[in-house]
């Protein structure tokens, strides 16, 4: 049993797998029937609007909550985490939106905060500075000076310090909570580049976002959430960027809104027409997409010309 498991770990067993996972808070159902898996060198994107259940999902994977239904497996082994520390010990690291950095402290002090390397009673500062610089370089960031306060870095760079810190301290799976939410176009591109970088270093990445334009170029798999339920689960080959956008925007809802505005007449009708065009532009042949399979149109061509994405990354289906 264990020996075959060992073999499989290298190839097939996903690092993290949720099976029909759900979460209830009292009588509130926050999440139900969620399937998700991510293997080494894969990027799993979780898309959803505000209140879709993304944070609950993160909390389950990160070990803050336990699923109240379904199973959670790490490297093929069912687990039940009591604290984020336990998840961290299994190599599951979460980079939250606030990043857990101290703005006034230098980059290297932040990088090693809580995990300081010591030589006798002192910190091994030379080693830590060099390691910090090297690790950031491995992520493709050439830092001016590791002594500069981390608050002087750009949002994207700070995000990358947090990511490379998690990687350096043994993360196998990275959970990134809306890393591009507060960033500009260019900065988002930088962060996406590091997500690819992390993937190429063999990490599994769970990328939480509400922006399909960020998710599509880097993702291998996409889970769409709405009101605590999965409204679609796609391999990259099964979905195009436009379809993803349409699903995210809630094409059906937009259409309804368009009709409503049309009925109101006057100036609203003009808005309705514009909205109608928008919906047409999304390439949605209207469909309710209850389970996702119906949305799988003709397999989209590999998109190499993403405006914010990295150079063409052919999907590697599991």
């Amino acid at each position: 049993m264990t020996s075959t498991l060992e073999n499989e770990k290298q190839t097939a067993t996903p690092l993290v797998r949720l099976n029909k996972a759900g979460k209830r808070y009292g009588n509130v159902i926050a999440l139900s029937d969620i399937d998700l898996q991510v293997g080494a060198g894969e990027v799993m994107c979780v898309l959803g609007d505000n209140g879709a259940g993304k944070s609950t999902l993160i909390k389950i994977i990160a070990g803050l909550h336990q699923p109240s239904a379904g199973t959670y497996e790490v490297e093929g082994e069912a687990v039940s985490f009591d604290s984020p520390r336990e998840a961290l010990d299994r190599g599951i690291a979460t980079v939250y939106q606030d990043l857990a950095v101290v703005p006034l402290m230098s980059v290297w002090r932040n990088f090693f905060l809580g995990n300081e390397v010591r030589k006798g009673p002192q910190m091994d500062i030379a080693f830590m500075k060099k390691t910090c610089k090297d690790e950031m370089l491995a992520m493709g960031i050439d830092l001016r000076d590791v002594e500069q306060p981390i608050g002087t870095l750009s949002g994207g760079e700070r995000q990358c310090v947090a990511i490379s810190r998690a990687v350096y301290f043994g993360a196998k799976v990275l959970i990134l909570d809306e890393p591009t939410a507060a960033l500009g176009v260019k900065q988002s591109g930088v962060v996406l580049k590091y997500i690819i970088q992390a993937r190429e270093r063999g990490l599994g990445v769970i990328f939480i976002t509400h922006n399909p334009h960020h998710a599509y170029p880097v993702g291998d798999r996409f889970l769409l959430l709405n009101r605590g339920r999965s409204i679609g689960y796609y391999e990259k080959s099964q979905v195009t960027r436009e379809e993803l956008t349409g699903l995210m925007a809630g094409g059906g809802e937009l259409e309804a809104l368009s009709h409503e505005l049309e009925a109101a007449g006057g100036a609203a009708a003009g808005v309705a027409a514009a909205l109608g065009e928008e919906i047409g532009g999304l390439g949605l042949t209207h469909d309710d997409n209850g389970d996702g399979t119906s949305a799988a149109g003709p397999p989209g061509p590999p998109r190499a010309s993403g405006n914010s994405g990295p150079p063409g990354t052919p999907s590697n289906p599991a």
Binding site: V101, V102, L113, N115, R118, M123, L137
Partner: protein
């Protein structure tokens, strides 16, 4: 263009670093304002007060500075850790009163009283820290309450136990000589009498600087003051750090109290009120941010030195000492304006 710079392997000397001049590197440090202030004050009194210039009067200036400086060091660490201690001034007096009255009333060896005072000071520090950490009430309020309580205890208990406003002289009690030798002796270098408290001050500042810059604990002090939630998220024991910082203020309050006690054999029960602000001002002059997370023990020591120089310089210049607080206030404003200006400049240069 910018793409090619980012993509190319880093050159050994990054061209983006070179622009920072040596001057702006000095001014980018937290100590900048206090270095400038100390030099200016020194030159000023050097010019206007002839007796300020000789070595023995500078030695006594250093002694006065050290009685502030020994407390300024832990108060600065505490401020970097994001908290205040308004009870620090009277805590020094409490400790000294405790040691002297205990050994006098119970006719014990002086050293017993000294140890009891140590326990009391550490307990007061612990109580401050524990209340702040457990209740989440700002340390400003918690230690303000402690300040008034200690002040009242100092006056009332001294009056009740000794029927005086000062502690009884303890110079005849067993162990006094050895305790005085440890806490308040002096030695002579090149004809100049130097008090040991100056040496203790330098040692304490050196240790505080070493802790801040070279040890893990120092890293944690900066982090709990800079952003406690972030520090907690990466596993820093925030509560224990803060309680430890309050207790280190207690430890040095005891030490300063003993130095004062054994210098004069007795201590006034109303002494120390107002000193808590002196400590905080010196730390701020030395570059500590009121909001925490930034500062320097060396800068704070220079802040204490500025205080000592103004205190003594006014006397040597033959001026009315009533002007002292005016000068201190003006100095505080001046250095803070300077610090703010420099920090803006330094940030703009990045």
């Amino acid at each position: 263009m910018s793409d090619t710079i980012e993509a190319s392997p880093p050159p050994m000397l990054d061209e983006r670093v070179g622009r920072k001049s040596a001057l702006s590197r000095v001014f980018g440090r937290p100590e900048a304002g206090s270095i400038a202030g100390a030099i200016i004050i020194y030159l000023f009194f050097f010019a206007v007060a002839p007796s300020f210039r000789n070595a023995s009067s500078f030695s006594s200036t250093l002694y006065v500075s050290s009685t502030y400086g020994l407390m300024v060091a832990p108060v600065a660490l505490l401020m970097i850790g994001g908290e205040f201690d308004l009870s620090a001034g009277v805590a020094v007096t409490s400790s000294a009163l405790c040691a002297s009255i205990f050994s006098y009333e119970f006719t014990t060896n002086v050293w017993v009283g000294v140890l009891v005072a140590l326990a009391l000071s550490l307990f007061v520090g612990f109580l401050n820290g524990w209340l702040v950490v457990k209740t989440g009430i700002p340390s400003f309020l918690v230690t303000l309450g402690m300040f008034f309580m200690l002040q009242g205890l100092n006056l009332a208990l001294t009056q009740t136990l000794t029927n005086q406003v000062a502690s009884p002289s303890i110079s005849n009690i067993q162990g006094f000589a050895s305790a005085q030798h440890v806490f308040a002796s002096s030695f002579t270098v090149g004809g100049v009498n130097i008090r040991t408290s100056i040496v203790y001050w330098i040692v304490v500042v050196a240790i505080a600087t070493w802790i801040l810059l070279r040890t893990r604990v120092g890293n944690w002090i900066f982090s709990v003051g800079g952003s406690a939630p972030s520090a907690r998220a990466v596993g820093v024991p925030v509560g224990r750090m803060k309680i430890g910082l309050f207790m280190s203020v207690g430890l040095l309050a005891w030490f300063t109290g003993m130095i004062t006690l054994f210098q004069f054999n007795t201590i006034q029960s109303g002494q120390g009120v107002g000193n808590e602000f002196v400590y905080i001002i010196a730390a701020v002059v030395g570059g500590c941010l009121l909001t925490g997370g930034y500062g320097s023990a060396v800068g704070a020591a220079l802040g204490a030195l500025i205080f000592g120089m103004v205190n003594q310089g006014i006397v040597y210049a033959g001026w009315d000492p009533d002007w002292f607080t005016f000068f201190v206030g003006a100095l505080l404003l001046g250095v803070i304006l300077f610090n703010t200006y420099i920090r803006r400049r330094a940030e703009a240069n990045r």
